[in-house]
């Protein structure tokens, strides 16, 4: 069995009277595609926000690659190797696609004010490497032709791809995707699926929130189901689909 990459232990998160997460524990293994599903408002995005340091959990802890994640320090989480996309796309709209990906390299590069102004050899080399890597990644997600367009002028599907490229630019060990197929048509979803499989093949573990059940069931090695902030099931897709609690959470029909 492969090793554990992320372990969430009894995570709690409340918003006033609303419980977004209750005692959620889950384990993600190195190299797998792990699905996180559940009805709207189940707490999936909240879990992402706790994981990436945007929300401070009310209880529990996260162990990533053997290290305890510090709450409320998103930039440190990124440095440790967790990258994410957002359900409601968050690109740097008035920067070009290229620049968006270049920002993703920030956490792996070092140039400061003096380097920027003096253009010493190390800085120019680093800058060239940033540019090269960003080009590669735009190519990788198939939007190289939009490199010089403003992010906000990209089509919806391309924006989702750009967000993935920007996340990959941080050299993550774990890539967390929040509903990447939302709003995509069948063709777009199919090519997204290929993209995610390719990312996994390159050795990056993927945590996937998705509404498209077919996509999740076809793509994921294991799936956890959240309902009203609680994990009600965690298993391989074929068994999750048959779990009575899951079927009930989805009101019968749509999951099977």
């Amino acid at each position: 069995m492969s090793s554990t990459l992320l372990e969430a232990r009894a995570i709690d998160k409340h918003f006033g009277g609303v419980t977004a997460l209750r005692n959620v524990s889950l384990t993600i293994r190195q190299g797998e595609i792990y699905g996180l599903i559940g009805p709207n408002g189940a707490g999936k995005t909240s879990f992402f926000n706790v994981l990436t340091g945007l929300y401070h959990p009310d209880g529990g802890e996260l162990i990533f690659a053997g290290e305890k994640l510090q709450a409320s320090a998103p930039h440190k989480v990124a440095k440790l190797g967790i990258a994410r996309t957002f359900q409601n796309i968050r690109l740097f709209g008035n920067m070009t696609a290229m620049e968006n990906v270049m920002v993703g390299r920030h956490v792996r590069t070092h140039a400061g004010v003096f380097g920027a102004v003096l253009h010493d050899r190390r800085t120019t080399r680093e800058e060239a490497a940033i540019r090269r890597r960003a080009e590669e990644l735009l190519n990788y997600v198939n939007i190289a032709d939009r490199a010089d367009d403003l992010a906000r002028h990209l089509s919806y599907g391309d924006q989702r791809r750009l967000e993935i490229a920007r996340a990959l630019a941080t050299d993550p060990k774990l890539l967390a995707l929040d509903e990447p197929a939302a709003g995509m048509n069948g063709t777009e979803t199919a090519s997204l699926r290929e993209l995610i499989e390719g990312i996994r093949k390159d050795g990056i573990t993927v945590l996937l929130i998705e509404h498209d059940v077919k996509l999740v069931m076809g793509l994921c090695d294991r799936v956890a189901v959240l309902d009203y902030g609680e994990k009600i099931c965690e298993d391989v897709p074929s068994l999750v689909q048959k779990d009575p609690k899951v079927i009930e959470a989805y009101l019968g029909g749509s999951i099977a």
């Binding site: 920002v103 956490v107 792996r108 800058e127 924006q159 920007r166």
Partner: protein, 370 residues
């Protein structure tokens, strides 16, 4: 075939750039002689002030234009640089330090003040940030006004006079400089010094804009949460913006003190902060040529109103009906409103912002709710 022609285009482009640079250089070099002989010394002084304001506007542009943090107290850093010069090179304390010590020290001290302002405001945005920074600017001015007792540091509202003019090498810029049988008047000498420093600041700003740091600033402006998730330490990067921006103000302040020979708290009031902010916004936030244009126009136009409105009124009405000073502010306000109505992205916006203000629909994708 296509690659050949694009290569040629590139070569022509490069030649054009070189030609433009040379023409610019010559124009900037002869400008003080044209203005000095055509319009006289008062306009030469205004030209020098335009260069100081360009430095200020470029400094504020780092905070407001790049990092997207509204700062209404920016003039405080100008004050810090000016008072440091005044204290270290005047009879007030009997100190007469050389300019190459004071100006860098002014930049550094203003930078520290920038960090001091930045630190408590890191979590604030928009209007809240505007109010706190406004307060900061006023506090600095009030301190300068009142630090004359029990120990007299700033000499209070009277200000500090008799400040040493700027010395470079063995020359003082206060008197005409004779070199190789050629005499350079004082105002011209100041012009070249200010121009050199303004060009240096332009250079630094351009380098910063196209760097890892500059991209991080813009990323924070565009989406702070996404910037954090990309691994940007937003606290440090924002503090860096405040510090860098403030240090430009410190440089300009030191030059101002040496040029003017006199500083008092009155020179650093809220109106001045607003003026510099207007230069940034009017010119085209975030776009370096736009900000420079804003600095030039907003220094020169009010002076034209000031000098021109009296004689024009006499010519038309036979007497002065409206105080030129009041009229100047009135016209200034009017000009601002007109520009914001018809060119909301500024007179010379970056291509990016121009597109933004055209308000196209793709932007809505970004705002879709969760």
């Amino acid at each position: 075939m296509t690659s050949m022609s694009s290569l040629n285009a590139l070569r022509t482009d490069k030649r054009m750039v070189i030609a433009a640079t040379v023409i610019m250089g010559i124009a900037l070099a002869v400008l003080p002689f044209i203005i000095g002989s055509g319009l006289g010394n008062s306009w030469l002084r205004i030209l020098n002030f335009a260069l100081l304001y360009i430095m200020l506007a470029l400094g504020l542009n780092i905070v407001v234009g790049f990092a997207g943090l509204l700062d209404l107290g920016y003039i405080a850093f100008y004050a810090v640089g000016a008072y440091l010069y005044a204290l270290l090179a005047s009879p007030h304390f009997g100190l007469h330090l050389p300019v190459w010590v004071i100006i860098p020290a002014g930049a550094a001290l203003a930078g520290i003040f920038g960090a001091l302002l930045g630190a408590p405001t890191l979590r604030l945005r928009g209007d809240y940030l505007a109010i706190v920074t406004l307060g900061f600017g006023e506090i600095v001015r009030i301190f300068l006004n009142n630090l004359n007792a029990p120990v007299n540091i700033t000499n209070g509202p009277q200000g500090i006079s008799g400040i040493d003019p700027i010395h470079l090498g063995g020359f003082t810029l206060a008197k005409p400089i004779s070199l190789f049988g050629f005499t350079l008047p004082s105002l011209h000498a100041y012009y070249y010094l200010f121009l050199a420093l303004a060009l240096f600041i332009v250079f630094v700003t351009i380098r910063l804009e196209n760097s890892r740091i500059g991209r991080a600033w813009v990323a924070i402006r565009e989406d702070e949460i996404a910037a954090k998730s990309c691994g940007i330490n937003t606290r440090n990067i924002k503090l860096l913006a405040f510090t860098m921006g403030a240090s430009f103000g410190g440089v300009a302040g030191g030059l101002f003190a040496g040029f003017q020979g006199f500083v008092s708290p009155e020179s650093f009031n809220l109106m001045e902060s607003v003026m510099v902010l207007c230069m940034v916004v009017l010119g085209g936030m975030g776009n370096i040529p736009g900000v420079i244009l804003g600095g030039i126009l907003l220094t020169i136009l009010p002076e034209i109103f000031r000098h021109g409105s009296g004689p024009v009124q006499v010519a038309i009405f036979g007497k002065i009906l409206l105080d030129p000073e009041a009229l100047r502010m009135l016209l200034f306000g009017l000009a601002l409103i007109v520009v914001m109505l018809y060119r909301p992205a500024g007179l010379w916006p970056s291509t990016t912002r121009r597109r933004e203000f055209r308000g196209d629909s793709t932007n809505d994708v970004l705002k879709e709710g969760e």
